[in-house]
Structures are given as structure tokens and as C-alpha cells.
Symmetry: C2
Subunit: 220 residues, 2 copies
DNA sequence: AAACTATTCAATAACTTTATTGAATAGTTT
DNA sequence: AAACTATTCAATAAAGTTATTGAATAGTTT
């Protein structure tokens, strides 16, 4: 094998893996699976895809060895093969948000149109934690909370927030987080809380970002 | 805009940028541009592409805003738009090497077939530097060395190594580096040096990786 | 073993990407 | 202003990707 042939094959393989990520639905699936494992049916529902279609995309990811499967009863559960998959998604996400003005505009416009408030990054939250007390709430569905969450966070799924709001303190600031920067649950939570007179802010990133940084997490 | 529409557009944009990376030639171009700026002609030559073809790929990268151009005399020089582009490439590269056994096999097989020796990572080199003295040589073409190199490295392009070998110490270990893990110049250098009785090892990563880590660099 | 069910497969049509030409363009130099 | 030159554009054919069906499969439960 000569030098050119070697390069063609290495870059060919890398392009193959990159292509398996280069599709809107598959990127959305990756972000979902970063929360934990899900069945094909659940993945299809979360991403608004027909099941056969979701399955087809999952096959592509499986062939590229980006996801693993294991059977649980009648269901086949998919999960990310390892943390490097999330790292690559994160790098692409950050490249996109920084480079493509359209994405940042989409995100801010969408938020501003419905929710007029600011967010805090993980870094900002860590600083804030040094000086004062805050209450962190996880507004994802309970199953995702159970698979892993920020240490000491309280689980209040967005669907239950209105009824369970009274569990929260009126004085200390509340930080709501969900799946990641494009997840809207946290925005909805902040909107509900603010309207009821609470001090609330959304965390920009999601649980997988927190976890990747090696910050304290809990399970179950 | 509803939630689904918002997601479709955000992931759509991210897939668009990912697609612009998802091609063997464009990945190779990205890695080349991580060394500095190059004209279309130079890029075509380095990647063994017809010029019209290289230009076409560069248009794709430009449209995705991953590269910038500036004119220098008769030539148009392309360069990476910023360090996030290299970060994304690095994440994909690491995902590929770790996930796809084929890539690791390709790299080790190719090296073993021609060059039978080990390499050291940047981390390993930093540790080694604490205890003993090493000589670092940059075997890329001089133009790339001038655009940026590891602090205190000596420039000896691979094409001149045989004649200039005598400039190097026989006793201290020599570390050779080039563009990145898939660049073969450093392997060739180690082979030449070892044959002549020097103690030599290749650095696994390339200059852009060193630079991204915030380690000391020099220009010119 | 039969019934059931979640998932995958297969075929196809619409769409997108890529390589290959050769011509056109936008600069620079003379 | 003319000549030159590096780069881009345009057209086209071949190859690859995706959504949409409906049928097939591989398990599990009864």
C-alpha cells in the first residue's frame, strides 16, 4: 500500500463515520440517546418519525458502530456506544452554533418569541454556586432522570410542574435543566415558574454536558 | 413556529454543516488547512485532486463557513475559519480511531509494514520532558514550520533530513512530528534516523493538536 | 406450538452528491 | 489595454441517500 492509498482509505473510513452523523434525524437521535437508552418505538415518537424510518436510521448508526443495542423483553433498546460519540456531537453542535448565524438566530428567536429571559451556562452556574444557594430542578421525564442526573437535583417533569410548584422555595433561585441547548422543556419550566413569582433561570446545556465535564452526578 | 418545526430547522442546519465535512477529500483538506493557509493549487497537489475538483470541495466548505479566503497576488489562499473547525475534525478523528477497528488497523499495519517502532503521545512527551532532555524536530515543509511550530523545535523537512542529520545529537532522544496522526513524514524521519543509529520516536499527534492544547508555540 | 409484537427488510421513486470535462471569469501583471 | 493565470462555473452522467410502503422476521408471551 502506498501513501496515497493509505490516506484514501483512512479518510474514506472517517468520512463514512461522519456521513452516518450527517443527517438531521440521526443527530436528533444521538442527542436523545445521550440521555440514556431508548426503544425504537420511543425514539420514533420523540423524533416524530415513522417507526420503519427510525429503525432505518438506527441501522445506519449501528453499522457505523456509534450505537449498541440490548434487548429488554419485547423491546430492543439502543444506546450510544461510548462517550466519544457524544463528544463528536458536542463538537459539531458547538461548531454549528458558533459558525452558523442561522442557528443562533433560530434559537434566540424561538426563545424570545415565547420566553423572554436569560440562561446560565454550566460554568456560570458553578461560579454562582460558590457564593449563594440555588435549587436545581430536572424537568425531563422521570425515566431519564433515573438514568442519571445532576447531583442533588430535584426531579419535576415539565408535565407535573404546575401542580408540584409548591415544593419549591420562593426565595432561592431555581435553575431548570433538561436534555441540552435545543431542548425546550427547561424554557417552558422557567416560563411557568416566573409567571408564578419564582426566581428561575434555565441552564444552557443539558445533563450529558454536565456529566462529560466530570461534575457530580447521581443515578436513580 | 412550533417545537417540531424549531427542532427540524436546528438539526437541519447542523446536518448541513456536518454534511460539508462528510467527504474524504474535504476531511483531508481540513487537516491540511489546520497547518496554515494554502492556495487552491497547493491544496489540489497535496490531496492528489484535479484543481477544478479541489475548488469545488473548497466551495462547499466555504458555503458552510468552515473556511475563509484571502487573495495573495495571483493566488487565493484558504484557511480554517477558526479553531472550532479543527476541534470538530479532531473529535471526529478520535471517534473514528477509537470506534472503527479498520482505521486503527490501517494505521498500525501501514506503519508496521514500513516502520517497526513506537510512538509517543503529546501527554507522554510532556512527562518525558520533565525528567530528561529531548530534541524535537519538525519534518514538515519549511513553509508550514514558519506558519507555526512547537517552541524550540528544529525545522528539518523530511526531504533534507538525510543531508542534515549531522546537525542532530547522537545521544539525546529525538522526537519527530508532522501534521497529525495520519501524516507519514514523521514515520519516515524516524526510520531514517534509527537506521543511522540515532534514538528517535515519532509524536503521535501533529502541530495543530499541540497548539490547541495551549502548549508553547513559535512562529517564523 | 400458536399468537403476538416490536423491529427489520426490500423495493422503489425522488432527491442529492460527486467526478469529469471544458469554458468562463476575475483578478494581476506586462 | 492586452495578455496572462489561478480559480470558478456549468453541464452532465454516475453513484449514493432518503422517505414511503407493506411484507417478513425474530423474538417473547400465552
Amino acid at each position: 500500500m502506498n501513501k496515497r492509498e493509505f490516506k484514501d482509505r483512512v479518510y474514506g473510513e472517517l468520512a463514512r463515520i461522519t456521513k452516518s452523523l450527517a443527517n438531521p434525524h440521526r443527530l436528533e437521535i444521538i442527542e436523545l440517546l445521550a440521555q440514556g437508552d431508548f426503544s425504537v418505538e420511543q425514539i420514533a415518537e420523540q423524533t416524530s418519525l415513522p417507526i420503519a424510518n427510525a429503525s432505518q436510521h438506527l441501522q445506519v448508526l449501528k453499522q457505523a458502530q456509534l450505537v449498541d443495542i440490548n434487548r429488554q423483553g419485547n423491546f430492543i433498546h439502543y444506546r450510544l456506544a461510548n462517550s466519544n460519540v457524544f463528544k463528536a456531537w458536542k463538537a459539531l453542535r458547538e461548531l454549528g452554533v458558533e459558525r452558523i448565524a442561522t442557528i443562533e438566530k433560530l434559537v434566540t428567536d424561538f426563545r424570545q418569541s415565547k420566553f423572554k429571559f436569560e440562561s446560565v451556562t454550566i460554568e456560570g452556574l458553578l461560579q454562582r454556586l460558590e457564593s449563594r444557594k440555588v435549587t436545581i430542578i430536572d424537568v425531563r421525564p422521570t425515566t431519564e432522570f433515573n438514568k442519571g442526573h445532576i447531583a442533588n437535583a430535584i426531579s419535576i417533569p415539565i408535565s407535573e410542574l404546575k401542580e408540584r410548584m409548591t415544593e419549591l422555595p420562593k426565595r432561592t433561585e431555581i435553575i431548570a435543566y433538561c436534555r441540552g441547548p435545543f431542548c425546550v422543556y427547561a424554557d417552558e419550566a422557567v416560563a411557568i415558574l416566573k409567571k408564578a413569582g419564582y426566581k428561575a433561570t434555565r441552564l444552557e446545556e443539558g445533563f450529558p454536558d454536565w456529566s462529560l465535564m466530570g461534575l457530580p452526578i447521581e443515578m436513580n
